[in-house]
């Protein structure tokens, strides 16, 4: 990894992602100098979060309540603001509603001027970054001391935040050490975490003792009681809000909730979801102006405590009117979406983020608070893997926010790019290519074709092109039924099981589909193949929402007929199964139809497992006897399968059959459908893939014979790009071990 302190591009230069070129440069910067620190730190937060939420016995219920409170609060925002104004003023504080960034900075500047302040201590506030407060105050001649150690680092390095909770997450201890040595003239040793912390503490303690004014953010504000919640670990928020006599708190208008009686829910969720702690070191519940003696350690003669609450609109009320972006206002900025995102773990917020807001949730916030759609271009880094969805404490559909931004960008550009049309219409491509698959594969792999494809549609040259099968699943199925003297039942509505002929299984992996057919045949269950219809996954992930909706409606109607006729639907491709169990809820906008699909669609192993659990199937009598030692298995759970709660069914299934199964904890393989094929994202995709590959080869039982199981087509492509081990869909492996 190159040195961040000497790197040719400064993160600020690539903070605004309006142009595609900047996004490209930012990705390069992040992969060259920030990736190692970001991955280490986000993965540690991520692991700790999983442990912490497990300890909350009513976690799901708590999330529902938090969501409900936030929804109601945004709904009743004008009334809540009135109430809050009344409470704060009644207690002797001042409240100011700033429509714009300038309104806010003007007000704060005037408060500082009125107190003849020289030095202002600041606790971390992302909202203050949004309004550009520091530069305004500094231009006015005030000295600003950022006191959160991460913000202190950023003040020295002049970088923008790379993460909501840990804004300097992109920096290693070594890089901070070097940064300090270059910037401070000191004889002190600055090598260990302790030495660096003590050094910064000493500088900042002097600032605290002489500061005239303290400026903080706010995690939540209760309208009824005028209480503000501020969570932290270092203790700088306590000093900022309590040492100087004047306290200014800055908060987005969306932080207001009705009453502090509900703080408890958010306190528990924030700590667990953010840093994975039971609580952070300090959770401050303040009703300023505080009834606390003024110490005047700064030498001033202040006699009265003064409190200003600056409430920021800056686009939020407009977001509230936007039926899609409104969802982002529920965010409590815990950063779980960033920590659970494989792409974010690889590049962090300097690439997957804008000038202020970062990660999956950052796109909507950037667009909402700047009113410039193009600045949200980094939303393209959301692959829709959906790992953030179950980890968001207020149940925000973050992938949908990003699909919205992608879709608006397409419209603003006057239509989809060739690349988006190419990847979003995979079913049409498959149809033509499969007329003469040999020729298609031959042509598409010619070096000249690759160069043309890379130039025109941005299809990365170094990726193997997915092979179109010589015979599609539909053809193979018909032949199989003929040779087995069984009447082809394709396209007929019969009761029993129906395997969905999704486009990926049909054109690229007919062997997976045939394995499912043969397994159910062997188990004595009647199974047929569905019609071939595009399910809309590819178009949705390109942001082609209207096309995805059209395709979803058509397929849902067909599947509903099959289900009404008494069929259960087997879906081999996990990204397609996840559509029926998650994405279609919003695409179809028909809860009854969605529920039917969600309740009658299964992964093949999941269905067999259900029969075993319900004592309807004794699998052991179908398993072939073998004296040979069992091969070892490494299993990688598909991202969207994990989100719909079926991510580990297959690994547990084979463990119960006495196989040794190692399991990856990589959130997503990084291929994510078409993402890894795109020229501009190939490097990120490979970076994430390497994380998975390392886990596989470092697992206890790994050798060249280890069987790798992954149900996603793209997961298998990503792994197969690097390893020569046998790689199967779990249903293929089951077929191999049956009699």
């Amino acid at each position: 990894m190159e040195n961040i302190n000497d790197y040719k591009i400064h993160p600020r230069q690539v903070a605004d992602k309006s142009s595609k070129e900047t996004l490209k440069k930012a990705i390069k910067l992040a992969l060259d100098v920030e990736s190692d620190a970001v991955r280490l730190n986000t993965q540690s937060f991520n692991t700790n979060r999983y442990k912490a939420v497990k300890k909350i016995d009513d976690y799901e219920e708590l999330k529902d309540r938090a969501r409900q409170i936030k929804e109601n609060s945004i709904q009743n925002l004008p009334q809540l603001l009135d109430k809050l104004t009344e409470t704060i003023e009644h207690r002797g504080g001042k409240i100011f509603l700033a429509k714009s960034k300038k309104d806010a900075t003007d007000y704060i500047k005037n408060v500082c001027l009125s107190h003849k302040a020289k030095l202002i201590v600041k606790a971390k506030s992302i909202t203050s970054e949004e309004i550009g407060l520091n530069s305004v105050l500094e231009k006015q001649g005030f000295e600003i001391a950022e006191t959160d150690l991460a913000e202190f680092i950023l003040q020295v390095s002049k970088e923008q935040p790379s993460h909501n909770v840990a804004p300097a997450i992109h920096r290693s201890r070594e890089s901070i050490s070097e940064l300090f040595k270059r910037n401070f003239n000191t004889d002190k040793s600055l090598e260990t975490g302790e030495e660096l912390t003590e050094f910064a503490r000493d500088i900042l303690r002097k600032k605290f003792l002489s500061a005239d004014i303290g400026i903080s953010g706010a995690n939540l504000i209760a309208a009824e009681e005028g209480t503000i919640l501020l969570v932290e670990s270092e203790g700088n928020i306590r000093l900022t809000t309590q040492l100087p006599a004047v306290h200014i708190a800055i908060a987005g208008i969306e932080k207001i909730i009705p009453s502090k009686k509900d703080f408890g829910i958010f306190i528990e969720l924030l700590a667990a979801s953010g840093t994975g702690q039971p609580l952070t070191s300090y959770t401050n519940i303040l009703e300023p102006p505080l009834d606390l003696p003024i110490l005047n350690l700064n030498g001033r003669k202040d006699k009265q405590r003064e409190f200003h609450l600056v409430i920021i609109d800056n686009g939020r009320m407009q977001m509230r009117e936007d039926k899609d972006l409104k969802e982002a206002l529920y965010c409590i900025r815990c950063s779980a979406c960033m920590n659970s995102c494989a792409n974010f773990q690889a590049v962090g917020g300097h690439a997957f983020g804008g000038e202020v807001y970062t990660g999956g949730i950052g796109g909507a916030w950037t667009v909402g608070t700047t009113d410039i759609l193009e600045k949200g271009r980094f939303a393209e880094l959301c692959t829709g893997c959906s790992r953030c969805v179950p980890n968001c404490p207020v149940r925000i559909d973050i992938p949908k926010l990003n699909t919205t931004i992608k879709n608006r960008l397409i419209k603003a550009a006057g239509g989809p790019s060739l690349q988006k049309s190419f990847f979003g219409n995979f079913s049409i491509l498959g149809k033509f290519a499969s007329i003469t698959p040999g020729l298609s594969n031959w042509v598409s792999n010619l070096s000249i074709s690759r160069t043309i494809m890379e130039k025109i549609i941005g299809f990365e040259k170094r990726r193997k092109i997915p092979r179109f099968a010589n015979k599609t699943l539909v053809k193979q199925y018909k032949e199989y039924r003929r040779t087995n003297n069984l009447k082809s039942k394709t396209n007929e509505l019969t009761s029993g099981l129906v395997l969905l002929a999704d486009v990926y299984t049909n054109y690229n992996n007919p062997n997976v589909g045939m394995a499912a057919i043969k397994v159910f045949d062997k188990l004595g269950m009647s199974i047929t193949l569905s019609k071939l219809l595009d399910e809309g996954r590819a178009s949705q992930s390109q942001g082609l929402v209207q096309l995805a909706t059209k395709r979803a409606l058509k397929l849902a109607t067909y599947l509903e007929e099959l289900i009404d006729d008494g069929n259960e639907i087997i879906v081999a491709e996990p990204s397609v199964l996840a559509l029926f169990r998650y994405d279609y809820k919003k695409l179809l906008n028909n809860d009854k139809q969605f529920d039917k699909l969600a309740n009658h669609t299964y992964d093949p192993i999941e269905y067999i497992n259900m029969l075993i659990v319900n004592c309807k199937l004794d699998l052991t009598k179908y398993i072939a006897n073998s004296d040979l030692p069992k091969p070892k298995i490494f299993y990688h759970g598909h991202c969207q399968m994990k989100t719909i709660g079926a991510g580990y069914v297959a690994s547990e299934f084979f463990q119960r059959l006495d196989y040794t199964v190692d399991v990856s904890n990589v959130e997503c393989c990084g291929m994510a459908g078409s993402f890894g094929f795109k020229k501009e994202y190939y490097a990120i995709s490979k970076n994430i893939g390497d994380d998975l590959i390392h886990q596989i080869i470092r697992s206890d039982s790994f050798d060249s014979n280890t069987i790798i199981l992954a149900s996603g087509t793209s997961c298998r492509e990503q792994i197969g790009d690097e390893l020569n081990n046998p790689i199967y869909h779990p249903i293929e492996f089951l077929q191999k071990i049956l009699k």
């Binding site: 730190n41 300890k55 006191t147 959160d148 150690l149 991460a150 680092i153 840990a166 300097a168 290693s172 201890r173 070594e174 901070i176 260990t192 975490g193 302790e194 660096l196 912390t197 910064a200 503490r201 900042l204 303690r205 605290f208 003792l209 009681e225 209480t227 670990s233 270092e234 203790g235 700088n236 306590r238 000093l239 309590q242 502090k260 009686k261 509900d262 703080f263 408890g264 829910i265 306190i267 528990e268 702690q277 039971p278 609580l279 952070t280 070191s281 300090y282 959770t283 401050n284 519940i285 303040l286 009703e287 300023p288 505080l290 009834d291 606390l292 003696p293 110490l295 005047n296 350690l297």
Partner: protein, 187 residues
């Protein structure tokens, strides 16, 4: 609260507090025992003793006569003092936290300017979960009536790379749980 539940909850609190790297001891609630505990915990250092907000001031009657104790500090002393003693109005079993009122008394400076914070809490005020502070069922609604800080372990940061304890706030947190004599329990 029945005694049996109280016992379980105290044990849970002690385990949670140790998990977040606080040190904990439990003593009978009388001025002699508290004096012994504080003399040992302060290690002969000069200490800032904040007037208690909730505990009976009588408990501190012996210790406050100690020559190392400062009750009305000068500005100079406040800027340099290393150890502070405060009470807490409640503690939380699931997280090992103590809750400190922010009032006219000096518990805020004693717990945020120092390197070591010693906090005394009545075992009767231990509640199960953080959310219970905001419930009227617990603490006679005290949690809803004031400004306070929930303190969970020492001040810490991971911003400089590895986890470091002791940043702007105290790097050491010592909790003394006091038990009221039997008979007065539940009164």
């Amino acid at each position: 609260m029945p005694n049996e539940i109280n016992k379980e909850i105290i044990e849970q609190f002690i385990a949670s507090a140790k998990e977040v790297v606080a040190t904990v001891e439990r003593i009978p609630a009388n001025a002699n025992s508290l004096n012994d505990a504080l003399v040992a915990a302060t290690e002969n250092e000069v200490v800032l003793l904040a007037q208690p907000d909730d505990l009976d001031p009588e408990l501190f009657s012996i210790f406050k006569l100690n020559k190392n104790v400062i009750i009305e500090p000068t500005k100079e002393q406040l800027s340099t003092i290393k150890t502070g003693i405060t009470d807490a109005f409640c503690a939380i079993a699931s997280t090992g936290s103590v809750c400190l009122s922010i009032t006219k008394n000096l518990s805020s400076p004693a717990s945020m300017l120092t390197r070591k914070h010693i906090v005394i809490v009545d075992s009767k005020t231990i509640i199960p979960k953080p959310r219970d502070i905001f419930s009227e069922k617990y603490l006679e609604g005290k949690g809803l009536k004031r400004s306070f800080s929930i303190i969970t372990g020492p001040s810490a940061t991971a911003d400089m790379g590895p986890l470091v304890r002791g940043v702007h706030g105290p790097g050491k947190l010592h909790i003394i749980i006091v038990d009221l004599p039997t008979g007065r329990q539940g009164s």
